[in-house]
């Protein structure tokens, strides 16, 4: 049984597209989203999907390159997990403001449940992610020596997610389900209206969160959390053992967690909180003037 490679992906960050018109006019975040939505053009939709594809390709290319391990190129589980976290940071920094950088059908499903994107756009994101992952892994095979792709440690191909031999398929499913629940909770926390103004270090937070999840579950199931991320190596290498786990676990977790978060935890900004936000901005202005 080859040593499990901790691999993972995912994120999502997108301002809420609210059609509500705030009466006070002070609700900057909401009115910004509203204007953005109204002025979105056809070209924007195309570049959004294109960005999602490139971001997913980057995820696969860098993430899997950092997982290479054989007699010549040494590696460790810690290094691979950290690398994957940093890859996510890069993708969000590059395309977070363009397309939200989901990189993951599970995250896209969560955004759909959260009413942040339409169904056609969600499907377009899904296709872009599949194509991007396929291209990313293909690019990796093109630029790396054969001995880096297939080795004693990875006979079926580098970056292929598979179950640790000590786990049953149902245990693997449970692990993937639970870590994806955590990931989607992070996403929903980011999208919550109360966090609309706290987006600056989002890439860092997401990257480190992914690194943590990769470290915890990497040796058990490969910590995929992402059907696309597992699908690309599988299709390139023709290895499908227990592959269904990486579709059922993440997608079910995304659906369930986002629905629960949406109804149990999500809150719109209350009037007093709006005043507090404005007060905070005012205080900043005063400091600026001093």
């Amino acid at each position: 049984m080859p040593v499990q490679q901790p691999q993972s992906a995912e994120i999502g960050h997108q301002m809420k597209m609210s059609s509500e018109e705030p009466p006070s006019g002070k609700q900057t975040c909401r009115s910004q989203s509203n204007c953005w939505l109204l002025q979105r053009r056809q070209l924007d939709s195309i570049t959004t999907v294109l960005a999602e594809m490139i971001a997913t390709a980057m995820l696969m290319f860098l993430g899997c390159m950092g997982s290479v391990e054989n007699s010549v190129f040494t590696n460790s589980d810690f290094q691979s997990a950290l690398n994957f976290g940093f890859v996510v940071l890069i993708c969000i920094q590059c395309f977070g403001c363009v397309c939200g950088a989901h990189l993951n059908p599970a995250v896209t499903l969560a955004t759909y449940v959260y009413n942040m994107i339409s169904l056609p756009m969600a499907l377009a994101y899904f296709v872009a992610q599949m194509v991007g992952a396929f291209i990313g892994y293909g690019l990796l095979k093109a630029v790396l020596p054969e001995s880096a792709i297939y080795s004693a440690e990875n006979p079926n191909g580098v970056c292929l997610t598979s179950l640790n031999s000590t786990l049953t398929p149902w245990q693997g499913l449970a692990v993937e389900f639970l870590i994806t629940c955590v990931l989607i909770s992070v996403c929903c926390g980011v999208w919550d209206p109360r966090n609309a103004t706290k987006q600056d270090s989002l890439p860092v937070r997401f990257g480190l969160a992914i690194a943590c999840l990769s470290l915890t579950a990497g040796q058990l199931t490969g910590a995929s959390m992402n059907p696309v991320r597992s699908f690309a190596p599988a299709i390139w290498n023709g290895f499908w053992d227990d592959h269904w786990i990486y579709w059922v676990g993440p997608m079910a977790a995304a659906l369930i967690t986002s629905v629960i978060y949406k109804h149990a935890f999500r809150r719109e900004l209350e009037e007093s909180e709006v005043d507090e936000t404005t007060m905070s901005t005012k205080r900043t202005s005063e400091a600026e003037l001093a």
Partner: protein, 297 residues
């Protein structure tokens, strides 16, 4: 201070400050600060010219010292002998954190490019003039040279003579020339996309943690590509050790791939992904500021 300035002049300078923020990206602070300063002394041409020149000189120095810091700290962290054990992860994290330090120190002074490839991208993105781009290039080469030279003075000689020389980047023997070129091209492409993402007008309000994001991004790219090509992405960083150790084989890879990748990627991002902040958004911000101004005065 406020009372000494006519309200009209103050409001106008504030507006320009806002526009400067929207336009300038990572040069945000120095440009905004200078514009605000020059508004108050617009009648003094001599001072304005002097201020502008000083600004450019300090940007040059910032870039020189920043690159020196990068090479000095980065390459010092590459030391690996029997007496000083090391591993790949430690090396790449060290390089990432060295970038973090350099950006934190000089990000607001010169934009902390530290890399001719990033400067090429900035020129294509229209953030620096051609002359300034060449000045940045000279500063980076000189800074890297000095940084590595400082290492040669301060480190014991056994640490400097490992392999082709400490920190000299070479493709791994099992990687072909074409593959090495491809790897450097792609990872530099990704680095440039990170830069363009930071410079995008829609991100002009999110520069607080740029140093951390860049540092960790570099750590990732170096972690992924380090075993195969050294994960250089930076002609200056590869040229300095090569020059000091007189090992130039394959050095052309670290010039051709990063610079061409940078030019292509920056242009593509500019055409396809970059968007100006929509007018209504500015209007909302402006309105909010004016409300605050009225209440404050």
């Amino acid at each position: 201070m406020i009372d000494e300035v006519p309200k009209q002049v103050y409001l106008e300078s504030r507006k320009r400050w806002t526009m400067a923020c929207d336009r300038e990206g990572s040069s945000l602070f120095s440009v905004a600060l200078f514009k605000r300063f020059s508004d108050h002394f617009s009648c003094c041409k001599v001072f304005k010219m002097k201020g502008s020149t000083l600004d450019k000189i300090s940007a040059f120095l910032g870039e020189l010292i920043g690159t020196g810091i990068l090479v000095f700290l980065g390459c010092m962290g590459c030391v690996k002998t029997d007496l000083f054990p090391n591993n790949h992860l430690q090396i790449v994290l060290n390089f990432g954190f060295a970038v973090l330090i350099a950006i934190q120190c000089f990000g607001c002074v010169s934009g902390a490019h530290l890399n001719p490839a990033v400067t090429v991208a900035a020129y294509i993105y229209e953030m620096v003039t051609l002359r300034m781009a060449f000045a940045y290039f000279a500063a980076q080469m000189l800074g890297a040279f000095i940084g590595y030279g400082l290492l040669m003075v301060l480190l014991p000689s056994p640490t400097l003579t490992v392999g082709a020389g400490l920190c000299v980047t070479l493709p791994h023997t099992s990687v072909t020339t074409g593959q090495a070129l491809g790897i450097e091209f792609v990872i530099t492409s990704i680095l440039v996309i990170v830069c363009c993402g930071v410079w995008d007008p829609r991100n002009s309000k999110f520069h607080d943690s740029v140093g951390i994001r860049f540092g960790l991004a570099i750590a990732c790219l170096a972690c992924a590509a380090g075993p195969f090509t050294g994960g250089s992405m930076n002609p200056a960083r590869s040229f300095a050790p090569a020059l000091w150790n007189k090992h130039f084989e394959s050095n052309w890879i670290y010039w051709l791939a990063p610079l061409s990748s940078s030019a292509i990627t920056a242009y593509a991002y500019k055409v396809v992904f970059r968007r100006e902040v929509v007018e209504a958004e500015i209007t909302s911000n402006e309105k909010l500021r004016q409300l605050e101004d009225v209440q404050l005065s």
